[in-house]
């Protein structure tokens, strides 16, 4: 029996990670042009192909417009007002933790990232991204032994440029969409994972992202490659300090699952969602996509509780025969948050299979949209998809909407869709209350129950964290 830790006295916590740490940052003046991109690439001492790639992306981006079809209210973003590079002062990278700015370490402590003693996440390698430069990586040796490469994207560009060049952009082309294109031009750092043929990665890989310096857009780039027969589980967690202005976040994540490999990618997001009026939250536009080759399996699990605006559709292109794609999602919106999330499953290979489980929770004035596309190509004999979208409404002023798009070009394919919308019943709260459980905790229990299918997909320590985040995010959301 998998017993997930219960949430205790929920709800009355303020956002705990809302603070700004005082690290002197080395920051570019705001603005974006080719020169900025050249400087960025030079500062990072990148190989030439990278600079050319960035410039190509930038030129393409200048011709693009932001799509408006996601049903979100978005204030126009001034891209010239953003600074595209900021690095903590310790430029050359610390050799040990003693060299790390103690202020940074305190920041991590408050975020609950245990750098000294990894008691909590024992067995988990943490590659912490602080603003734009990776400052600490642990468990490297153990991974090295297995032949696994897990490092910052910048480091990968120095140490393994041929791998980066070979795979970068193969899943998400430069001009795929407005934000991915911008990311391609100006990305600063992120994570790189390479698991060699037949290797099962010996530990869960984890990265914590954090936005810190004011007005610094974050443009992470993550690339994960699983060679044939390899398997890896990657955890991404995000928190951000409180801000007055909306901050832009436009990440790109590419997963390459070669034949018979297995990639599990889990995200728990805890960005400041903005105050009751929606002011001060994070704009989160993320492009995440995987390609699954023959018999490979890719699984996306995401818990979204933060951000003023989330726009995110982790997708799987099921290219190889018998490949499998999964998407498990919990999205909670409260205050004035808007979430437009979902997934795309593109079935190209024969007997490809996909499963989509989406749980949307809306509270206060939150708006939650599920947008899913299931596409079955003409060659995808016997492809199967199962989609389940459930919405839970916690107030009378919130909303949930589902937009399933199904596009089937092969008659042997089976596509199933189920959807439900519910409210927490007074009877449920009364039942729990009668058993001594106070109302706030009762709400948490019902909401957690609603999300259980998704939580069960998370690694244990993340599942506990996810429930805690949900609990914090439910604050003031009752009624």
């Amino acid at each position: 029996m998998s017993e997930k830790k219960t949430i205790n006295d929920a709800v009355s916590k303020r956002y705990e990670h809302g603070f700004v740490s005082d690290v002197a940052a080395d920051t570019f003046a705001p603005g974006l042009n080719e020169d900025v991109i050249r400087r960025l690439s030079a500062v990072k001492n990148e190989p030439e192909f990278m600079l050319n790639w960035r410039l190509k992306a930038y030129r393409k981006w200048c011709t693009m417009k932001m799509k408006t079809w996601a049903s979100l209210n978005i204030e126009p973003i001034d891209y010239q007002a953003i600074s595209y590079y900021s690095a903590p002062k310790t430029q050359d990278g610390p050799k040990s933790l003693d060299e790390v700015d103690p202020e940074l370490l305190r920041t991590y402590d408050r975020l609950g990232i245990p750098l000294y003693e990894q008691k909590m996440l024992a067995g988990v390698a943490v590659d912490a991204v602080f603003d734009s430069v990776s400052i600490a990586t642990t468990f490297k040796d153990k991974l090295k032994e297995a032949g696994v490469i897990f490092c910052s994207f910048s480091e990968a560009l120095q140490e393994h440029p041929e791998l980066v060049e070979k795979y970068m952009g193969t899943v998400i082309p430069v001009g795929d969409n407005f934000f991915a294109c911008l990311n391609s031009a100006v990305f600063t750092d992120g994570s790189f994972v390479y698991v060699p043929r037949g290797v099962k990665c010996p530990m869960e890989l984890s990265t914590y992202f954090r936005i810190n310096a004011a007005n610094t857009g974050q443009f992470e780039r993550t690339l994960i490659i699983a060679e044939p027969g390899a398997s890896v589980s990657y955890l991404e967690g995000c928190t951000a300090p409180m801000r007055d202005e909306n901050q832009l976040h436009a990440a790109v994540v590419e997963l390459v699952a070669l034949p018979d490999s297995n990639i599990k990618y889990s995200t728990v997001q805890n960005w400041y969602p903005g105050d009751e009026n929606g002011k001060g939250g994070i704009y989160n536009f993320v492009t995440k996509r995987a390609v699954a080759h023959e018999r490979a399996k890719v699984s996306w699990t995401q818990i979204e509780t933060g951000s003023a605006i989330t726009w995110k559709y982790p997708s799987v292109t099921l290219r190889g025969d018998d490949s499998v794609g999964e998407f498990y999602s919990v999205a909670l919106t409260s205050n004035c948050q808007q979430a437009d999330t979902g997934t795309k499953m593109i079935h190209l290979g024969k007997r490809t299979k996909s499963t989509i489980i989406s749980k949307g929770i809306s509270a206060m004035k939150g708006q939650n949209n599920y947008r899913g596309r299931v596409k079955v190509g003409p060659m995808a004999e016997g492809a199967r998809n199962y989609t389940q979208c459930d919405s839970l409404l916690l107030s009378d002023t919130c909303g949930a909407h589902t937009f399933p798009y199904v596009d089937v070009a092969n008659a042997t394919a089976k596509v199933e869709h189920e959807a439900s919308t519910s409210k927490i019943a007074d009877e449920q709260l009364f039942y729990l209350g009668q058993r001594g459980i106070r109302e706030e905790e009762a709400v948490s229990l019902v909401v957690n129950g609603f999300c259980r299918e998704v939580f069960d997909q998370l690694p244990m320590e993340f599942a506990v964290e996810a429930q805690k985040l949900l609990e914090i995010s439910l604050e003031d959301s009752i009624g």
Partner: protein, 252 residues
């Protein structure tokens, strides 16, 4: 000691309890019988404190405390337990997780430490067996897709786990097969103690063959119109309620 005087209550403007008087002492078992729609479940629900049930008159005092001022969870902390006629399902909330939360909440209120997870699991497994539910029920969603009888067994299991001092069992015997009935009755009898008040609402005298009550009350049209001993239940079985309705005629 539970003392209820002249209780009047309404739901959505409809008057349902109309001057109900009732009292019980620790150690006693009371049975409440009465026709469909007479207000038995309403009575139980009002005692447990459901919000939309408005008490318009009267008093309810338990352990020298005015129950009517307390919210449902506070009443539970005071020892009140209601086995629901129709237990609600909470999908995805595992039975065991729910039970542990309930037990720990009550322990916290009593100033005790949370239960040891290992001991608790062992205890829960033993209790599940005792009420005839397999271990698999512990990890299933609370009452989620349980059969009618399984829900009732689960209510009894919770009662035994939480060890409340004032139990109201609302038709816990309805819809049970004969073995389940014996199991439930055995659970209730095991819970009988000089410290506990047990109130069983039932339509069937056969339950009272297994749980012999100290008192039997007849509730008609929102008030208790007759009180007797176990013999009264047998009489009702033969005669029905008509004769009492007539005497209660024009009541309240």
């Amino acid at each position: 000691m539970l003392t209820i005087k002249n209780l009047h209550a309404e739901v959505e403007g409809k008057k349902i309890l109309k001057g109900l008087n009732f009292s019980a002492k620790p150690g006693q078992v009371h049975a409440i019988m009465g026709p469909n729609g007479s207000g038995k479940s309403t009575f139980a629900t009002v005692l447990a404190g459901k919000e939309d049930y408005e008490v318009t008159d009267g008093s309810v005092v338990y352990k020298d405390t005015n129950l009517l001022e307390l919210s449902p969870h506070e009443r539970a902390h005071l020892g009140l337990f209601l086995a629901f006629q129709y237990p609600v399902a909470i999908p995805g909330l595992s039975n065991i997780n729910f039970l542990k939360t309930a037990v720990n909440t009550i322990r916290k209120h009593q100033g005790k430490d949370p239960v040891d997870a290992y001991d608790f699991l062992a205890q829960a497994k033993a209790l599940a067996m005792r009420v005839g539910l397999g271990e698999s029920f512990l990890s299933r969603g609370l009452n989620d897709e349980f059969s009618g009888g399984e829900k009732k067994r689960n209510e009894i299991m919770q009662m035994l786990m939480l060890n409340p001092s004032l139990c109201i069992l609302d038709e816990t015997d309805s819809g049970l097969d004969i073995d389940a009935l014996k199991t439930v009755a055995a659970g209730v009898n095991a819970h009988r103690s000089p410290d506990h008040i047990i109130v069983v609402v039932t339509h069937y005298q056969r339950l009272l063959d297994y749980i012999v009550p100290d008192f039997v009350h007849v509730l008609i049209d929102g008030a208790i119109v007759k009180t007797g001993d176990a013999q009264l239940a047998k009489e009702l079985e033969k005669k029905g309620y008509q004769w009492l309705m007539e005497s209660a005629g024009g009541g309240a």
